[in-house]
């Protein structure tokens, strides 16, 4: 069973994706903060991280910086998944190696699952 770490601070969205990801057969780990997410990544070594960008305290970009500095987890693929559509932030995210930067509102949960599956292949 593939492991997905979802870092998302919006409770309603977290509920939606948790349900959908579980239905799709993934083992899902949740975090609403960057720091906790990083600790979970170190502990669980997920196959993919789905990362929101605007988070409380440290944002998704800071999370990516931390992730890339830790050799044990730096190679985990990350999918940026946010409604924050800022060109500079996008650029930074791609520089830090995200596979894609998806705008949440443009995808149904089913479409997201398809995207995730394509990145896990």
């Amino acid at each position: 069973m593939k492991k997905i770490l979802l870092i998302e601070d919006e409770k309603i969205l977290l509920d939606i994706y948790k349900d959908k990801f579980t239905q799709a057969g993934f083992k899902i780990y949740l975090s609403s903060e960057a720091k906790k997410g990083l600790n979970l990544a170190r502990k669980e070594k997920p196959d993919l991280i789905v990362l929101d960008i605007l988070l409380p305290k440290e944002n998704g970009i800071t999370f990516l910086t931390w992730l890339r500095k830790d050799p044990k987890i730096s190679s985990i693929p990350v999918l940026a998944f946010s409604n924050y559509d800022d060109p500079d932030i996008k650029k930074q995210a791609f520089k830090l190696g995200v596979k894609d930067y998806l705008i949440k509102t443009n995808y149904t949960p089913k479409e997201i699952i398809e995207k995730i599956k394509s990145y896990l292949k």
Partner: protein, 524 residues
């Protein structure tokens, strides 16, 4: 050689005095002006006493003036630090540092005329007399000269990291002036400590600090020194002309001299007036420009955040409704299928509107970037057709992609943006077609990739065609048949195509005769 030192000291002293007084008179209330004056006062006392001391031929007066010059030197570091802090708007925050600095300086000043500070003067090299530092003077060098100026430099370097572009440049001039000026001044110390290794050759460099501070202020209009320099020059020339007129030998030469003087005064006055006006105008423009840039940044941030906030509930609605329609929560009653679909579609309209508004604001601000990648336009068309197939089916119209017999080459485009354009054009064609259908064709012709979308819909008038790619306008048929949207889609499509150096246009034979949309992209 000594004469050179005297001349440079005199230049330093006079320049510092003139700039100090001028800056203070310009605005007596502002802390930055007051502290600049105080710093210049310190430099003037130091430099003019330096000059006096070098002119002395007897030991007593030489000792007195050397003590005077060091009295001035003691004042400079603390006034410099105070000026730097007021320049950086940190004077209030760093009050404790300033108080400590003033206290140290005060102690040194009280003791500056005792032998503990300057113990004597003695002949060194080609100088008749050179002051010899007492033990307290070493303390001043560590705490005052290097300590306080070091603090000032540190504050400048710290502020530089976060300063705006203009402010950073201004700070650069001040840092450069500080390093040159204080290094130059420091070349006086080895001889005072009995180390004749370095000559006081840095003395002329002190002048550069006044010059660079002045340059920083002229360039950024802190004190309007430019006007002062012109006023000064005009006054000097005027004075020369007046003297010439007064001392002229004949009556007619006097008349001529006074005439030239009067004309010069008139033109000089007009010149100064126009320069003042120009500077004021430029300053206003500069302020307006900075304000505009700040507002533009604030607007972009606001739009990004606002669209994020708008999108979050829309994402939740989209997520739940789509999962309900996919039966993730069990099969919904049949009669709920249509309402669920309608909620979903309404939500999609809102999502599209937010996306369009965000795109428009970025296009208008020139902040959209093109990310070119090798793309198969045919595959993009296929995926769009697949996505819109159901919409066409529900309207009982056909949606056909007539693929060329030979596979067309991939071209360099921003895939997402071109997909958005094709989606918009085909989606529009379906919306405005009640009977018949929509056909899409693609071909390469004259080094151009062409996409043709034709429909059998309501058609367009010439007026509608001329307006439809403009911002915030919609074809009249749009109002009559279909009231969704605010006419942003085609405008965005045009701008995206133009960013690819391509063209987009529409044709129609008239009402109810359908429309044809042509997209042309250069092959890269």
């Amino acid at each position: 050689m000594i004469n050179l030192f005297i001349v440079f000291s005199l230049i330093n002293g006079i320049t510092a005095a003139i700039f100090g007084i001028f800056v203070y008179l310009k605005n007596k209330q502002k802390l930055i002006n007051k502290t600049f004056f105080l710093m210049s006062f310190g430099v003037a006392v130091w430099s003019l006493s330096y000059c006096q001391w070098l002119l002395m031929t007897e030991q007593g007066p030489a000792l007195f003036w050397s003590k005077m010059l060091n009295f001035g030197a003691t004042l400079i570091p603390i006034f410099y630090l105070h000026w730097v802090l007021s320049l950086l708007n940190l004077a209030k925050i760093k009050r404790k540092l300033l108080t400590a600095g003033y206290l140290i300086t005060f102690i040194f000043l009280i003791l500056s005329f005792t032998p503990y500070y300057i113990k004597s003067v003695k002949p060194i090299l080609f100088f008749l007399f050179w002051p010899q530092a007492g033990p307290l003077y070493i303390c001043f060098l560590i705490l005052g000269y290097f300590g306080l100026t070091g603090c000032g430099l540190y504050q400048l370097l710290q502020a530089r990291k976060t300063a705006s572009k203009d402010k950073r440049l201004q700070i650069n001039y001040v840092i450069l002036g500080s390093i040159i000026g204080f290094s130059g001044g420091a070349t006086n110390f080895p001889l005072m400590l009995g180390i004749p290794l370095i000559l006081p050759i840095g003395q002329p460099l002190v002048f550069f600090y006044v010059l660079s501070f002045a340059f920083a202020t002229i360039k950024y209009h802190l004190f309007n020194i430019k006007v002062f320099l012109i006023e000064f020059l005009v006054s000097i020339i005027g004075l020369i002309l007046l003297v010439q007129a007064v001392i002229a030998e004949t009556f007619w030469l006097k008349i001529l001299g006074f005439g030239i003087f009067a004309i010069f005064c008139t033109f000089g006055y007009l010149l100064i007036k126009s320069i003042i006006k120009e500077i004021e105008y430029r300053e206003k423009l500069q302020i307006a420009y900075s304000e505009l840039k700040r507002l533009d940044k604030a607007k972009s941030e606001f739009i990004s955040i606002a669209s994020h906030q708008l999108r979050t509930p829309l994402t939740a609605i989209k997520g739940y409704i789509s999962m309900m329609r996919e039966k993730s929560y069990g099969k919904p009653p049949e009669k709920m299928e249509k309402p669920l679909k309608n909620i979903y579609l309404s939500n999609e309209r809102l999502i599209k509107l937010v996306n369009d508004l965000l795109n428009i604001s970025r296009i208008e601000a020139g902040k959209i970037e093109i990310k070119l990648e090798k793309t198969s336009i045919e595959n993009v068309i296929i995926s769009v057709v697949e996505e819109l197939e159901n919409t066409a089916k529900e309207k009982n119209i056909y949606l056909r992609f007539e693929k060329p017999k030979k596979h067309l080459a991939e071209i360099l485009v921003d895939r997402e943006k071109i997909r958005q354009v094709i989606m918009n054009i085909i989606d529009n064609a379906i919306k405005y077609t009640k009977k018949g259908g929509v056909t899409i064709k693609s071909k390469i012709e004259n080094l151009k990739f062409k996409i043709i979308v034709s429909d059998t819909g309501t058609g367009l008038t010439k007026y509608e065609i001329s307006k439809m790619f403009e911002s915030f306008s919609r074809g009249v048929a749009g109002t009559r048949l279909y009231t969704e949207g605010v006419g942003l889609g085609l405008y965005i499509a045009r701008r995206f195509i133009e960013m690819h150096q391509g063209k987009i246009r529409a044709e129609s034979k008239g009402k109810n005769k359908g429309s044809i949309f042509y997209i042309e992209l250069p092959i890269k």
